[in-house]
Symmetry: D2
Subunit: 383 residues, 4 copies
C-alpha cells in the first residue's frame, strides 16, 4: 500500500468519524452564511476529488450524479455556477446519498492510488487532503456555532475540547532587529500557495509573549469597562461592538451571576486560568490597546515561533492577508484556492485544538475577517 493511499484513507475516514455523534437531522442545518452544515462539508470535500482528480486523471470516469457538481461546489467560479452560500442547508440529497457519493469516489480514488502517479496528480491529491482537513476544522466550528443557537445546548462530545488548556510558559521573548526569513521554503513538504515565496523581511527589535491571554486576564478587561470605552477600539470595531451589543467573547453566557461558556461538552464554567478563546480581531486588538501593548505582525510571530509553544488557539496578528512577494495565482480552479481572498481579512497564525492532526506548521497562514469569532481564536501580545 502506498503512503499516499494510506494517508488518503486515514484523512477521509476522519471526516466521517467526526460525524459519529450526529443524528441525520444534525447534518443539514445552516444558521449563517459563513457556516456550512456537516452534510455539505462531507459532500464538498468529496466533490473536490471528483472534480480535480477523477474527472481529470481517471480515464472513463463516470460522474456520480451531475447535480452534485452544482450543489457542492463552494466558490470555484471556474467550475460553473454554484449554489448560494446561504442555501447550503438542504434536506436533499439525503445523507445516505452523500455517504454513497463518498463511497463511490473513495473506491475509485483508491483504485487510482494503487499505481504510481505522476507528480502533478500526487500534488493535487495532497492539496485535496489538506483541503479536507481544513473542512474538518470548519465542520466542528460550524457545528458548534449552529448548536450554540439551539436552546437545548446539545453536547457533541462528553470527553474533550472543553477549552481547559493552560499556558505552560510565561514571560517575554526579546527578538533582535534584523533580517528574517519568512515563508515555506521546503519544496519536499506540502504547503499552500499563500505560504510560498520564502523571502526576507526586516524586523525591528520587539518582544513577544510566551503565553496566550487567559480568561482571567480578559475578564479584567471586561470588568474594567473595556467594551464600553471607545479609546481601545478601532473605529469599525467600535461600530461592530455597538451594533451587535457585544460584551463578552462568543459562547459566553452569564447564568445566575456566573460566566459559563458553551463547549463541545455543553455549557461549562469559565475557569480563569484557562486560555481565552472565541474572540474577534477587534477584541484582540482592543485588549492589547487596553494593556498598552499590541498584537504581533505575522512576520514577528513566525520569526519567533520556534521559541514558544503554540497550537491550542489560532492567534490574531496585526497583519492583513496579502500576497507574499512573487505570489502568483495558479492557472485554473486551484488558482482560486487562496489568492482571491487577499482583501479585508487578517492573518491568524498557529493552530487550534480542533485543527486536524498533522495539519499545522509555523508558516501556515490562516485568515478571517476581523469580526469573526467562531474559530478557536486567542491573543498573544507583543510590544
Amino acid at each position: 500500500m502506498t503512503d499516499l493511499l494510506q494517508m488518503y484513507q486515514t484523512i477521509r475516514k476522519r471526516s466521517t468519524d467526526l460525524c459519529l455523534p450526529l443524528a441525520p437531522e444534525d447534518f443539514n442545518i445552516q444558521l449563517a452564511d459563513h457556516t456550512s452544515p456537516p452534510k455539505w462539508h462531507l459532500a464538498h470535500t468529496t466533490w473536490f476529488f471528483e472534480e480535480m482528480i477523477l474527472k481529470k486523471y481517471l480515464d472513463g470516469y463516470q460522474e456520480f450524479d451531475e447535480e452534485f457538481s452544482f450543489l457542492f461546489n463552494s466558490y470555484y467560479n471556474h467550475l460553473g455556477d454554484r449554489t448560494d452560500r446561504s442555501h447550503r442547508g438542504t434536506s436533499r440529497p439525503l445523507l445516505e446519498q452523500v455517504l454513497g457519493y463518498r463511497h463511490y469516489v473513495d473506491e475509485l480514488m483508491e483504485t487510482l492510488l494503487q499505481v504510481e502517479l505522476e507528480t502533478e496528480v500526487r500534488k493535487h491529491i495532497i492539496i485535496g487532503l489538506n483541503h479536507e482537513q481544513q473542512h474538518q476544522e470548519l465542520l466542528l466550528t460550524d457545528l458548534k456555532y449552529t448548536w450554540w443557537h439551539n436552546a437545548t445546548f446539545p453536547v457533541y462530545d462528553t470527553n474533550s475540547n472543553f477549552l481547559t488548556e493552560k499556558n505552560t510558559e510565561s514571560g517575554w521573548l526579546k527578538m533582535h532587529e534584523g533580517i528574517y526569513q519568512i515563508g515555506h521554503a521546503d519544496s519536499e513538504k506540502f504547503s499552500f500557495d499563500n505560504e510560498h515565496g520564502a523571502h526576507r523581511v526586516y524586523l525591528n527589535d520587539y518582544s513577544i509573549s510566551k503565553s496566550l491571554v487567559t480568561n482571567g486576564e480578559y475578564l479584567e478587561f471586561m470588568e474594567a469597562g473595556g467594551y464600553k470605552d471607545f479609546r481601545y477600539w478601532l473605529d469599525e470595531g467600535w461600530s461592530w461592538v455597538n451594533a451587535h451589543g457585544i460584551n463578552s467573547p462568543l459562547y459566553w453566557i452569564k447564568k445566575e451571576g456566573e460566566w459559563m461558556q458553551y463547549t463541545q461538552g455543553g455549557l461549562k464554567k469559565v475557569h480563569l486560568d484557562n486560555i481565552l478563546s472565541h474572540i474577534s480581531f477587534y477584541e484582540a486588538n482592543a485588549f492589547a490597546s487596553w494593556r498598552g501593548m499590541r498584537l504581533p505582525t505575522e512576520f514577528e510571530w513566525e520569526a519567533a515561533a520556534d521559541q514558544f509553544s503554540w497550537g491550542s488557539r489560532w492567534e490574531w496578528t496585526y497583519s492583513a492577508y496579502l500576497p507574499y512577494p512573487g505570489f502568483r495565482i495558479a492557472e485554473g480552479a486551484l488558482g482560486e484556492y487562496n489568492g482571491k481572498f487577499m482583501i479585508n481579512q487578517m492573518v491568524l497564525r498557529g493552530a487550534s485544538i480542533v485543527t486536524a492532526p498533522g495539519h499545522s506548521r509555523k508558516t501556515y497562514r490562516n485568515f478571517f475577517h476581523p469580526h469573526y469569532r467562531w474559530q478557536y481564536t486567542s491573543i498573544r501580545l507583543a510590544q
Copy 2:
C-alpha cells in the same frame, strides 16, 4: 368512544400521515420566515394541546419538557418568550423526541377525552383541532416552497396534487342589489372568531364568474406584456414585480421553451385548461385590471358562494382583513388567534386541494399579505 375522541384521533393521525414520505432530514429545513419545517408543525400543534388544554384542565399534568414551551410557541405573546420566527429550522430536539412529545400528549388527551367534558374544554379542544388542520395545509405548502429551492425538485407524492383541476362551470352569475347576511351564525357548528358577528351588508348589483382563471388565460396576460405594463398594477405591486423580477406565477419555470410547474409530483408541464395556482394578490388584481374587470369583495363572494363551485383554490378578494362589526378579541392566549393580524392583509375565500377534509365552509376567512404566493391561490373575476 366519544365523537370528539374519534375526531381527535383522526385529525392528529393525519398530521403524521402527511409526513410518511419524508426522511428525518426533511423535517427541519426552513428557507423563509413565513414557512416552517415539518418538525416544527408537528411540535407546535402538540404544544397547543399541552398549553391550552392539558396544563389547564388535566389535574396534576406533568409537562413533557419545559424547553418545548419556548421552542414551539409560535406567536402567543401571552405565553412568554418564543423562538425567533426565522430560527425554526433546528436539528434538536430530534424528530424522535418530537414524536415522543406527540405520543405523550396524545395519551393524556385521550384519557381526558374518555369522560364527558365541560363545554368550554370541548370548545378549546375543537379550536386545537382546527388549528392543527390549518397547520396541515401549511405543512404541505411550506414543504413545497422549501423543496422548490432544492435543485433536485424532490417528489412528495407520485399520485396527487399535480394541479390538474379544471373548471366545470362557465359564465357569469348576476347578483342583485340589496341587503345580504354575512358571517357564521350557526353556533352549533365550529367557526373561528373572525367569522362570528353575523351581520348585514348592502351590496350593489354585481356579476361574479362561475369559473376560475386558467393557466391559458393567465398566459395570455403574460404574453400580452402584463408583467411589464404598470397600468395594470397597484403601485406597491409594481414595486414588488420589479424588485423581485417577477414574470410568472410561483413554481413556474421555462425549460427548453416550455412552461413547467413544480408540483407535489415534481416538475410537470403547465396545461392551459387547468386552473391557475400560486399567484399573489398583486398578480390577481393586475390580471383583473388587464381584463377590464375586478376581484370580488369577500362579501360579494360569500353572498354568491352557494351558486358556484369552489374549493380547489384559495380565491383572492379585494377586501382587507378587518374585524366584523361586534368583533372582540377574546381574553387570554386564544384571543391572539386572529384579531391581531387584522392589518395589511387581504382576505381569501374558498379552500384548496390541500385544505384538510372537513375544514372548509363558505364563511371561512383566510388571509395573507398581498405578495405571498406559496398557497394554492387563484382568481375569480367580478364586474
Copy 3:
C-alpha cells in the same frame, strides 16, 4: 376676471406664501423617502399644470425646461421616468429657477384662464389646484419632520399651529342600525375620484365620540404601560413599536422630567387638555383597545360627521383604503391619482389645522400606511 382665474391665483400664491419664513437652504433638504423638500413641492405642483394643462390645451406651448419633466414628476408612470423618491433633495435647479418656472407657468395659465374653457379643461385645472392644496399640507408636515431632526429645532412661525386646540364637545353620539348613503354625490362640486360612487352601506348600531382624545388621556395610556403591553397592539404594530423603540407620539421629547412637543413654533410644553396629535394607526388602535373600545370605520365616521365638529386633526379609521363600488381608474395619467394606492393603507377622515382652507369635506378620504405619524393625526373612539 373669471372665478377660476381668481381661484388659481389665490391657491398658487398660498404655496409661495407658505415659504416666506424659509431661507434658500431650507428648500432642498429631504430626510426620508416619504417627505419631500419645499423646492420639490413648489416645482412638482407647477409641473402638474405644465404637463396636464399647458402641454395639452395651450397651442404652441413651449416647455420651460425639458429636464424639469423628469425631475419633478412624482409617481406618474404614464409620463416617463422619474427621479427616485429618495433623491428629491437636490441643490440644482436652484430655487430661483424653480420660482422662474412657477412664474412662467403661471403667466401662461393666466392667459389660458382669460377665456371661457371647455368643461374638461376646467375640471383638470381644478384637480391641479386641489393637488396643489394637498402639497401645501405636505410641505408643512414634511418641513416639520425635517426640522425635528435638526438639533436646533428651528421655528417656522411664532404665532400659530402650536397644537393648542381643545375639544368643544363631549359625550357620545348614538347612531342607529340601518342603511346610510356614503360618498360624494354632488357633481357640481369638486371631489376626488376615490370619493365618487356614492353608494349605500348597512351599519349596525354604534356610538361615536363627540370629542377627540387629548394629550392627558393619551398620557394615561402611556403611564399605564400601554407601549409595553402586547395585548393592546396589532402584531405588526407591536413589531413596529419594538423595532423603533417607540414610547410616545412623534415630536414628543422629555426634558428635565417634563413632556415637550416640537411645534411650528418650536419646542412647547405638552398641555393635558389639548387634543393629541402625531400618532400612528397602530397607536390609535392600541389606545382604543386599552380603553376597551375601537376606532370607527370610515362609513360610521361619515354617517355621523354632521353631528360632531371635526377639522383640527386627521382621524384614523379602522377602514382600509379600498375602492368604492363602481370605482374605475380614469384613462391616462390622472388615473394614477388615487386608485393605484389602494392597498396596505388606512383611511383617515376629517382634516387638520394645516389643511388648506376650503379643501375639506366630510366625504374626503385621506390615506396613509399605518405606521406614519408625521401628519396631524388623532383618535376618535367608537363602540
Copy 4:
C-alpha cells in the same frame, strides 16, 4: 506677521474661495454616508480650531455656539456625542451662521497667532491646517459626487480639472533587492502620525512603471470583457461588481455610443491618452491581473518615488493600511486622527490634481476602503 499666521490665513481663505462658485442651496446636500456637504466641511474645519486650540490655549475663550460642538464633530469620540454621519445635510445652522463661525474663530486665532506660541500649540495648529487641506480635497470630491447624481450635471469650474493630464514618461524602473528606508524622518517638517516611525523594510527585486494607466488602456480591459471575467477579480471585488452592476469607472457614461465622463467642467469626452481616474482598488487590481502584473506595495512605491513623476492621481497600492513599527496612538482627541482607521482600508500614495497645494510628500499615506472611487484615483503597475 508670523509665518504661521500667514499660513493660517492663506489656507483658511482657500476653503471659502473653493466655495465661490456655489449658491447657498449647494452647501447642504449629502447623498452618501461617505460624502459631506460643503457647509459641513467649512464648519467642521473651524470646529477643529475652536475645540483643539481656542478652548485649550486661549484664556477666557467664549464658545461661539454650544450646539456647534455637537453638530460639527466628525468622529472624535473623545469630544462627546456627534451627529450621525448620514445626517450632515441640514438646512440649519444657515450658511451665514457658519460663515460667522469661521469669522469669529479666525479673528481669535489671528489674535493668538500674533504672539510667539509654544511648540505644542504651534504643532496642533499645523495639524489643524493640514486637516483643513484634507477637507478641501474632500469638499471638491464630495461635491463632484453629489452633482453627478444631479440630472443637470452642474458645472463647478469652466477652466480646470477636466482630467486632461497625460503621462510624460514611459517605461519601467528596475529596483534592486535590499533594505530601504521608509517613513517620514524629518522632524522639522510636518507629517501625520501614520507616516512617523521611519524604519527599514527589505524589498525584493521589482519593476515599477514610470507612467499611470490611461483611459485607452483601461478601455481595452473593458472591451476585452474585464468586468465580466471573474478570473481577474478578488472575490469581494467580484461580488461588488455584480451587486452594483459596475461596468466602467465612476463618472463615465455612454452617450450616443461615445464614452463621456463627468468632470468639474461638466460632461466631457473621454480621451484615450489622458490618465485614467476614479476607479476602485478592486478595479485597479483586476486591471493589473488582466495585464499579468500587479500593483506595487506602498513600500515599493515610496522607495522608487523619486524616480518617476506623481501627483495627478492617488495611486492604489496592494498594501493594507496598518501601523508602522513603533506607531502609537497619541493621547486625547488628536490620537483619534489616524490610528483607529487601520483596518479594512488600502493605502494610496501620491496626490491628485485636487490635493491642496503644498500638501503632498512621498511619505504621505492616504487610505480608503477598496470599493471607493470618488477620489481621483488611478493605477501604477508593478511586476
